[in-house]
């Protein structure tokens, strides 16, 4: 019996051995079984941040909202600084696509803002631009309204040219000058046929189809004459681009092509087309055109802003967004010079912001990457006097700044800035409506 026991104890593995065998089998088995159930706790793959940020501006500003404070996304498409009632104090006009009106923010003697709608809410929809002009030559300012009809893309004939006619006491009557148009983005006034009255030029943006035409003033009624058939005209600034004493028309066409045209006034309402700037980059995102003598050499240059892309449904700042200076070389030749790269650039306003005697440029962004903290919505380009520019960030909030204007609102000798927010796409974290940045004396340096 004892021998049997002895022999069995010799062949039977010890507990240690069994445990080790068990472990040797179980460790890989456990790993194999657990493998598919193991969570991923590693870092997410690195994301690229292409949002635009710049060094903080050495100039200082005090920010203030004028009019109602925004509690939900607003849609301001245009702001202008103008002494509307000619009382010596600058006022602000704002086109509002939520309330479907043009607001007049009148500055009172005590520098308060009185808000007044120039039209009822149901007279037109989605005003894109307001131009103050005494169209009927009766000595008071009227307002020309470019009616988009919808800020969203459509080719429907929902645009209009509307005149808010001043009855003399700043009561306004709405008069449709032309309808059955696709979306109208801009209307400018000038004596285009040299007969002493004001004619109009219209940017019928549309979507797939569009036009540029001028409206001949025929003693109060207007006859439209086609200049160019092309979709996507944003702005049509009028100036004497060839220095020959009459008014020409510039236009930025953006939808199918990205180009800038000058329509040279040949007299008697005839305009010769010249394409003065063009890029094969159909995605440039041209968003605005401003006439200005940037280098102060006595001719009209142009500032082209680019930043309006609809990448699928949402936008993303592109490396070619920013501001291009089209320097007038004479003879309707323009040389393109990039003066800023800034994602989602939508509006430009030339002004001597630092008071050093040259022209700086304000830029606002509609489509920076607003999810990223600190991304710039308002910047200025400091001119060193030789048209070399340094970009300074003024603010990152509010976001979606579609329009910017400038003027000495508080009469302290320094230019102040007004901008409007067009919140069309999320995120809606940095809401704004009509915002003013008052210049402060001195710099932060």
């Amino acid at each position: 019996m004892s021998r049997e026991l002895d022999s069995s104890s010799q062949t039977k593995p010890s507990l240690t051995t069994l445990t080790l065998v068990f472990a040797a089998v179980m460790v890989p088995l456990a790993i194999v079984l657990a493998w598919p159930r193991l969570p991923a706790i590693g870092r997410p793959p690195k994301t690229t941040d292409l949002a635009s940020r710049f060094p903080q501006s050495p100039l200082r500003f005090d920010k203030q909202t004028i009019g109602r404070l925004p509690s939900h996304p607003q849609r301001i498409t245009n702001v202008q600084v103008v002494d509307f009632d000619e009382d010596g104090r600058l006022d602000v006009l704002a086109c509002d696509c939520i309330r479907n009106t043009v607001w007049w923010y009148r500055q009172t003697e005590t520098n308060q803002w009185e808000e007044r709608a120039l039209s009822a809410e149901t007279e037109f929809a989605d005003p894109a631009h307001a131009t103050v002009v005494d169209l009927d030559a009766d000595g008071d300012p009227d307002v020309l309204v470019s009616v988009l009809g919808s800020v969203w893309p459509t080719d429907s004939r929902i645009g209009r040219v509307v005149l808010l006619e001043n009855s003399g006491d700043f009561q306004f009557e709405s008069r449709v000058l032309l309808d059955d148009l696709r979306r109208v983005a801009d209307v400018q006034a000038g004596d285009l046929d040299g007969d002493g009255d004001l004619d109009l030029v219209v940017a019928e943006f549309g979507y797939d189809h569009g036009r540029i035409f001028w409206m001949e003033n025929r003693g109060g009624s207007f006859r439209d004459h086609e200049i160019l058939v092309a979709p996507g005209t944003v702005h049509v600034p009028i100036a004497d681009y060839d220095n020959d004493g009459d008014l020409d028309i510039a236009a930025i066409v953006t939808q199918e092509e990205e180009e800038v045209w000058i329509f040279e006034n040949s007299g008697n309402g005839v305009f010769a087309p010249h394409r003065v700037h063009f890029t094969t980059n159909f995605d440039l995102g041209g968003s605005g055109l401003v006439a200005t003598d940037l280098d102060r050499d006595g001719d009209q240059d142009l500032l082209l802003t680019a930043g309006d892309n609809l990448e699928l449904v949402y936008h993303y700042p592109q490396p070619y967004h920013g501001c291009i200076w089209l320097e007038n070389l004479g003879g309707l030749r323009f040389e393109a010079k990039r003066i800023a790269t800034f994602g989602g650039t939508y509006a430009a306003q030339p002004t001597d912001l630092d008071g050093d005697g040259d022209t700086d440029v304000l830029l606002s962004s509609m489509f920076n990457d607003w999810r990223q903290p600190g991304t710039a919505s308002l910047v200025w380009l400091e001119n060193d006097g030789k048209q070399n520019f340094t970009t300074w960030q003024i603010d990152d909030s509010p976001s979606h700044l579609c329009t910017v204007a400038c003027g000495d609102l508080n009469q302290d000798g320094l230019p102040d800035i007004v901008a409007g927010s067009l919140h069309t796409h999320e995120p809606f974290g940095r809401l704004g409506r009509v915002t003013v940045w008052f210049s402060r004396k001195g710099t932060s340096q």
Binding site: I31, A34, G42, P44, H72, I158, R223, R371, P427, F428
Partner: protein
């Protein structure tokens, strides 16, 4: 410890070391990025977060599907990083490479986008023409015209690529070469407007102004887009967006309302969105009140939406319908008039029809006829834009038969007759238009064109 035990111990130790190392590596594999969406609609935000949390970090298609959702919501950097990870897991997947390339091109990362698209071609992307077309477009964005031309030549199976070739020709002043391509495109896709617009440019360059004008006319009544791979991709992304956003919730609620499950629709909206304000959701909530027969609440809800998000023809039209249902025809007429004046979308046309009905009800036959004529005009315009000229003319004739004082009706009658080659009738229609509106510029120009 005997030799066997030592060996076993060694084995277990090695297993644990290697296993631990492998487990640790596996545990620390990348997890999907979850963007900060606190400033977004909470329903959409939740949908996106849920999807990101469900991603199997070892499955390339899961990463790519998440990338699509991010792309649809404009979360481009996160989308790009997900595509990158998907391709790490399946490096030879041509479809993934193509999608990653598309995402990079949306972010303006053009050189890298082209590289990924070329990788997709190497991996056998089918159809290769789609890849070449996108490469060509990114080359254009980089202002590399020669490279773009080479890519479009490779993609010349696609009408859109040939259109780009024609465009480059026309831009370079080679109008005849452009016209030769455009003629073929017009045969293949007669209803696409872009080739006609470009043809007009080319003909104008050659001094053929009247031919150019004819092509502009043709473009005006053509509404089709040129089919492109970009459009297909966009369609897919939009469908993704619809299925992962408030739109999905709105669509589900409308389905419930259509099947008379009003309380369920209301509950769904309430639980999903809570107190977050969204115009589309509020619009369905207004419909909930309508289905419950609460006309006043329905109207108040619509007015509240307009207060926050602005008034448009659609909202005014709905308010007008609510007022009609509440037997307040005079107020309904005011609402529909406002919808027509605002004229923001096709609902303005529906309000024209409603105005004809409401004024008939009020016994105002003159106004009823006027709006019935205007409604017919709007119907005719839809037909005109679809190039259904005979049908459009018939409706316009009915319109002027009811009210002949609307100049636009006469102008478009003139246009249609001119398109149909009936110049004398066209001229007569333009003249009637100009009697009503002497400065109607397009009518003046069109009549002069006929006289020439």
């Amino acid at each position: 410890m005997n030799r066997t035990q030592v060996s076993l111990l060694l084995l277990v130790s090695i297993e644990m070391l290697v296993g631990g190392w492998a487990v640790s590596r596996h545990l620390y594999r990348p997890r999907p990025p979850i963007p900060d969406l606190t400033e977004y609609n909470p329903y959409t935000s939740q949908q996106i977060t849920d999807l990101a949390e469900q991603v199997d970090p070892d499955t390339a298609t899961d990463w790519a599907d998440l990338a699509d959702v991010y792309l649809a919501h404009g979360l481009f950097p996160e989308s790009e990083s997900c595509f990158r990870r998907a391709v790490e897991l399946k490096p030879r997947d041509a479809e993934l490479l193509y999608r990653w390339g598309f995402c990079l091109s949306s972010m303006g990362q053009l050189e890298e986008a082209r590289q990924r698209l070329r990788d997709a071609l190497t991996a056998g992307y089918d159809p290769p023409a789609d890849c070449w077309y996108l490469i060509g477009r990114t080359e254009l964005r980089s202002e590399h015209v020669e490279e773009a031309l080479a890519a479009f030549e490779q993609a010349s199976k696609l009408a859109a690529a040939r259109f780009e070739l024609a465009k480059v020709d026309v831009r370079a002043g080679r109008a005849e070469a452009g016209i030769s391509i455009l003629t073929q495109l017009a045969t293949e896709l007669p209803n696409a407007f872009r080739p006609h617009l470009l043809r007009a440019q080319a003909e104008a360059m050659l001094g053929n102004d009247s031919v150019a004008a004819n092509y502009l006319d043709l473009a005006e009544v053509c509404s089709a887009q040129l089919p492109t791979p970009t459009h297909e991709f966009r369609k897919r992304i939009l469908a993704t967006l619809d299925s992962h956003s408030v739109t999905e919730l709105v669509n589900r609620s409308i389905e419930l309302l259509d099947s008379r499950q009003v309380d369920q629709a209301d509950a769904l909206l309430q639980t999903a969105v809570g107190s977050y304000w969204d115009a589309d959701v509020e619009d369905v909530r207004a419909s909930v009140e309508l289905h419950r027969g609460n006309l006043r609440e329905h109207r108040q809800q619509l007015e509240a939406i307009a207060e926050q998000d602005g008034m448009d023809s659609y909202r005014m039209w709905r308010i007008g319908l609510a007022l009609s249902a509440a037997d307040q025809p005079a107020d309904a007429a005011q609402a529909h008039l406002a919808a027509v004046t605002l004229n923001t979308d096709a609902r303005a046309n529906d309000s024209l029809e409603q105005l004809a009905i409401v004024y008939q009800k009020l016994g105002d036959h003159q106004h009823a006829n006027h709006y019935a004529a205007r409604f017919r005009f709007s119907v005719a315009m839809q037909l005109f834009r679809q190039a259904k000229l005979i049908e459009a003319r018939s409706v316009l004739r009915q319109s002027v038969g009811t009210d002949d004082k609307y100049p636009h009706t006469w102008f478009y009658l003139g246009e249609i007759e001119r398109y149909l080659g009936n110049t004398e009738t066209a001229s007569g229609a333009y003249s009637r238009c100009l009697e009503l509106a002497p400065d109607y510029g397009r009518a003046v120009a069109a009549r002069e064109r006929i006289e020439k």
